[in-house]
Symmetry: D2
Subunit: 470 residues, 4 copies
């Protein structure tokens, strides 16, 4: 499912590397492997020890860098960022990494997450005379670090991080140091890898695979890592809390080949499909997944249930930015967009349709109808995660509560709306079992959008912005 259709948008992906002469190129490949985490913009800042240089723009990684001159991006250290797609106009100033120059030196920031008290912090900074140029909460952290003319250091970063609340994974680069920080609950993923002598940091481990690096360890909740010519050191800026990794990373957001908090995403999805088959079996002929994100769960469901897995829906690989959208008239006449049903497989069959999640319900409805139009006798909708009923304050731009179908209707009404012959969700317990299987007590997942159990309490309604303002 395309993020826009789905109603879920990941905020971003970050990547960093220390100590490799091809730092910028490797960052390009690292970002490339995390393209699914953000299609709005991409950027790289590189340091040669003397100076920070940047290349960034709106668009996909390939488009942003196709005319880049990497000889202008020499240096052993780099950080990069991919940014999710908004409906807005070209807003280059929001593309990260943000780069700040001053007479005392430069600083670049790349951020995945969301600060809950950004609005209040901004007001305070502006009251003191600061001018913020972007609408991103990333810039707030930069101003907090530089407050009172501070140098960028472990001390000033620690102080600044103690003023922000939210879910975040930060990379901060100066000419001489790379800082890596993860929020106290570890809601967003962030891992450390090695490539020869170089250190690598990435939101997803698929970036390590992409560049031939090996996974070393997870960044810990509340940890601040400093990498410089003296090596790597770890400090804490906050007490460690129980890890609350975002469940949606497993359900939908991460790439199947990534390991999120040591759990392979494909495997967790296949497990979710298996659990779902146990919890909600269906009297049907074939199992069909909605490509691409539901394929693993569908295979799991098929394996567990003994029903054959069939490729009943095809995703058109060539639908990109330049695809000409069919007019309403042509759409009504049957012109397809991204997904097409395979009539000779579907026709006359009782189909179990596996989807990873339902947000607004509009795409589920469309797919059910598409299957019925292609001759499916019955369509049993099985969702490989619990229903989404609450907004996310931690960096995923879901539809607003008003749009969340499960926040407004009972399950049977939803079934009726989307047109399925039956509908079942995976239970919260089933999901946690599928993901955590053999994990220790310190591990947990954030299920706030499904259960309303938010790991961070919100101080006041006024301060909290579910998403960026301005």
């Amino acid at each position: 499912m395309h993020a826009e259709d789905k109603g879920i948008r990941e905020e971003c992906g970050v990547f960093g590397i220390w100590g490799h002469e091809k730092a910028a190129e490797l960052t390009y490949y690292g970002l490339h492997s995390m393209q699914h985490r953000g299609q709005e913009g991409a950027g790289i800042v590189v340091s040669d020890g003397q100076q920070l240089k940047v290349h960034k723009d709106v668009g996909l990684v390939n488009d942003v860098f196709k005319h880049a001159d990497f000889s202008m991006l020499q240096g052993d250290v780099a950080i990069g960022h991919v940014r999710y797609s908004t409906q807005g106009a070209k807003t280059l100033e929001n593309v990260q990494p943000l780069l700040f120059h001053s007479q005392k030196g430069s600083m670049a920031l790349a951020h995945n997450g969301n600060l809950m008290n950004a609005y209040a912090l901004r007001a305070e900074l502006e009251e003191e005379g600061s001018i913020l140029q972007t609408s991103s909460d990333t810039e707030v952290l930069a101003h907090l670090i530089k407050r009172n003319g501070n140098q960028v250091s472990k001390v000033s970063i620690t102080e600044a991080l103690n003023q922000v609340q939210g879910a975040y994974a930060y990379l901060i680069l100066t000419e001489k140091q790379l800082f890596v920080a993860l929020d106290p609950h570890g809601i967003r993923p962030l891992s450390i890898g090695r490539l020869g002598d170089a250190y690598v940091v990435a939101s997803e481990t698929c970036a390590f695979g992409q560049i031939g690096a090996t996974f070393e360890r997870e960044v810990l909740p509340g940890e601040l890592i400093t990498i410089d010519d003296h090596g790597i050191t770890s400090t804490r800026f906050a007490m460690r809390e129980q890890r609350k990794m975002c469940a949606m990373e497993y359900v939908y957001l991460s790439r199947p080949d990534s390991d999120v908090n040591l759990v392979n995403v494909h495997a967790s999805r296949k497990n979710m499909g298996m659990e779902l088959a146990k919890e909600a079996p269906a009297d049907a002929d074939i199992v069909v997944g909605v490509p691409d994100s539901s394929t693993s769960a569908a295979i799991g469901y098929a394996e567990e249930s003994g029903l054959p897995y069939e490729m009943g829906i095809i995703k058109n690989r060539y639908v990109g930015r330049t695809f000409i959208q069919p007019s309403q008239e042509l759409r009504e006449q049957g012109v397809k967009l991204k997904l097409s049903p395979v009539r000779s497989i579907i026709e006359g069959k009782r189909v179990v349709m596996i989807d990873d999640s339902i947000v607004r319900g509009t795409t589920s409805k469309r797919i059910v109808h598409m299957l019925k139009d292609a001759g499916a006798k019955e369509v049993h909708v099985r969702i490989a995660s619990p229903s989404i009923q609450h907004p996310c304050y931690y960096g995923i731009d879901m539809s607003t509560r008003k749009e969340l179908i499960a926040a407004n209707y009972e399950q049977d009404k939803i079934r009726e709306i989307i047109g399925g012959d039956s509908l079942a969700y995976l239970s919260e317990a089933g999901m946690e079992k599928a993901i955590l299987k053999d994990k220790t007590i310190h591990q947990g997942v954030c299920t706030a959008c499904m259960t309303g159990k938010y790991p961070l309490s919100m101080e006041s309604d006024k301060q909290v912005s579910p998403f960026i303002f301005l």
Copy 2:
């Protein structure tokens, strides 16, 4: 597998529509669904009954039409074409449909296939004073039709078709008529569909699904169909021979949701995987397919063998034309291209690796090594088609015989070269059984590239060009 890596390139896809006011737009969507059949260039010619207008260019369908002004392409009839990718420079003159104007009227041609006697026919035409502007054999047919100042008609087309030898599916458009022709053996696929009152023609039935049309029937070998204001009429320009549908359409070329000669491609591939599991079982832990073309066969193998199907190899969806290829140095350090292994799935496992075919063996070798590097204990290579040992003269640009690994080495040597712990191909009988299952006596497949049994005899070595010249 990307066509370039694979060493197999489809020649083209054709699409036509008669009697719909949005003829050009629908052709765009039809071509779009057949993008996999040709990425070099695309074009549409439309007729409003008075005049033929063209829009075509090198590049993908989306790129070619992103700035197209469809209001300039008004008309109820259109034909379109996608062309395969060559290594050559920008050669717009070869992009089809070819459009010819004369004082008596215009004619457009779209062609999928290859003429075996094109070289000799060209020489003859030039000797008579004709000037050919392209290097394509499609233009040869146009000159044969117009020879002696002929009008474009059922008669002149029949005469011209009787002079050419090869495998072909032709669409020929004038201001007032649309002609559809298929070679006497029906080596290339071509089907007729309906969209309301309109007639649709396409190389693959997935184009019907894309635009909401329904399949009507296959064009028959040796059939010439004429569509005009008086309706649709069918004649023959040649005796009907046993149909010899290109087996590679099932193995690799067509989209899984297409029905080729009434057989669903995904189903045929799954069957091939099942037959392969019967013929060549493996003592292993998991089944992994090389995405995307081998996924169906891998699922079939898994289902038949009882082994779990796992997503052990991931294809990066964002590697497009603007992807910056890693330098040799970075590639050696481990930077990946399109495919990445999933270590946490592969590690310590005995893997059955399913691929649809082996051409040069270079990619198979790369994938086997990639799996081993990711920790696979054993890699058992299973190929869901017989080995390819002979060149194709009928429109598929395979590597030359010198490059075909199976034309040069014994099977065990191939296994050694690619590094697998075992290697097995599907038998010819197994493949035919998987494809033809419940077909009548009149149906057959062309397996020339695997068996050397060419349905057309070649008159003389000199005349035959395995591929286009000049």
Copy 3:
């Protein structure tokens, strides 16, 4: 004046070079200097003695070649072409040089001019079974040369040239030879130059200046020049007639630094201005020229009359293809296009406004009003050429007769229409005196568009096309 506004469009410019290792680059610069002769498209064909390679596209020379890979255009011989701007769509197939491949070898053609019997010749060729791909009469010559399967040679070209009627300058390139031909009246300009050992051919001598070459001689009317490894040879394919160089080349079309038929264009224009001052003096304060084409004449008028020359109209240099045209509403509110008056120079003055010619009268009217709005007390319009009353059949795309203001109104009515306080044209005698000054009896100018005296009689009205058909 921009050609579109003016109502006059040059057909083309040709360039050729033999014997320089940077043949393609030099052709680029040569074409660049003749950009004013054609803005629709540009192309270069180069020969390395074995093969002809082409790069061409619609657009300006700079745009066409900005991404060209000159390392793919190696060779010692090249020809090039710039094509005038039409209102039509992208018509790459008409961009020259035209390139034809055959099994016996290749041929490229570049043409400036117009064939009067092209329509009849085309019909004849098509009747015989030839297929023409372009709508240009250039292609007709190619087919005439190749008729009956001929080789491209001095003999076949001579025979073909004897079948065509019109005004033309042709460059014809094969792998081994470069042919240069000029029509029997020498209506279009064409000169030979030298650059070291290399031979250069160009429509305008400014191309020689651009690349550092020196002028050698004019190509003679009816001359066919052959350049190959044996050197340069000259033959005639027609009797020499009195030269009838197109007068509009002096008046408007050529660059002021070119020498057309041995006469400098700027000097001829200044002379025309001087003659005009003698024939039609004005009681005024200042002389103002319409930039750029009338500047030379205005300076001549000022010098002869003793009135000061002032820069009363400014041309905006940055109005290019991407300029956003003001809406009608904004234009009425006073938003200017290309030309702006200089109020502080014009205000309160009696102005002699010099323009090189009047075609439709619409721009003259606009400029007179612009000057009056800027405060001019009187505007005396002086045109530095005779009035244009007849169509051109020799390669200049003027407005149709219906649009030519002087073909429809008396001079005083024209004055009234354009709003001048007085109006005078240069006489035919004055123009010829200004241009030919010290020329011999063999020289003449074609003044057909002004006088209706056509140097070539037209065989039949039906056959003659003032411009390209189809």
Copy 4:
């Protein structure tokens, strides 16, 4: 002369309009007419009374706005900016207007000029914790205005302007007000015009002509104008000093149809040419100007001296950004760039070559040699301004002192270097007489770059940056 070749670069041009429903479109045309003042980037900020919206990018005005959606730029008020060309990479963050958002409202700034104490002010601001995002001194003013969390108002702007030193013309826009300010010496040009009921502000009056507006008055040195719904009000933020309009605006920078401080630029240049003819006559045959900037002076010289003015040098109009620069080898073989000599005019003549100024001397040398190569018997170089020997601190990016030929060599040595047969400059008195002719005692010109007489003293060497840093 192209700015890069010349060694002089204007900093910028500003444009503003209050009270017209097509504010953004008119700003586009206004900027377009001032394109010569800056080719690096362009931008427009528009206010609809509620919100500021921006469109800006690197590149020419046409390129920046060719895909702009003006329907997204609705509003009655707009400011715009064109920025000069630097050698640097794409630096969008420096393109103006700068736009700052805060929770209390937004502010946009457009600036032409240079602040001498920007470096010290920046250091001070950063010390206090401010983060500046651009390297432009324009941003410094924004921070000074917002210091201590101020609102943008007449008061805070006045206070901020009293902290900066330099030459500047500022436009400051909020949702509700437009502020216009000029430095106390009025070194940079800035005028007010009317278009119906709307107010217009522009660096050059040619922008008024472009949009059909009429000139109202000059902005006075030290004046702060406020335009809002209550009308226009004027205050002073500084004592009025004698106006010191930059002399280079007349000599080279402004468009000939602009009136700078009430003096027409073309007329002043023609006067300079006339004064030069009186001061430094030459025994010669023809007068030739270096196009385009020296044409007016050359005409004046010719008129005063009685020598004929001839078009001996031609400027190629099509040399733009995409022009492929000839290799050194081709340049040495004679391939020309922008300027070509006209041999048939130059040959055998004694030429007076008029140039507006000499900066580094390299282009003068090239042109003298070009004329000699084209056969000039003698070349008498006459410069229509005094020699440039000092750097500019007020917003013109001239070459550094080391590069200024007149700062390093005596006049006769310069003549020898550039290869002229004689060389003369216009005297300072001659230039002032030509420009100021009939002006009052309050008017003066800044001749600092010629005479070293700087109107502003510099407080300390350390603080002063002749140009932007970082």
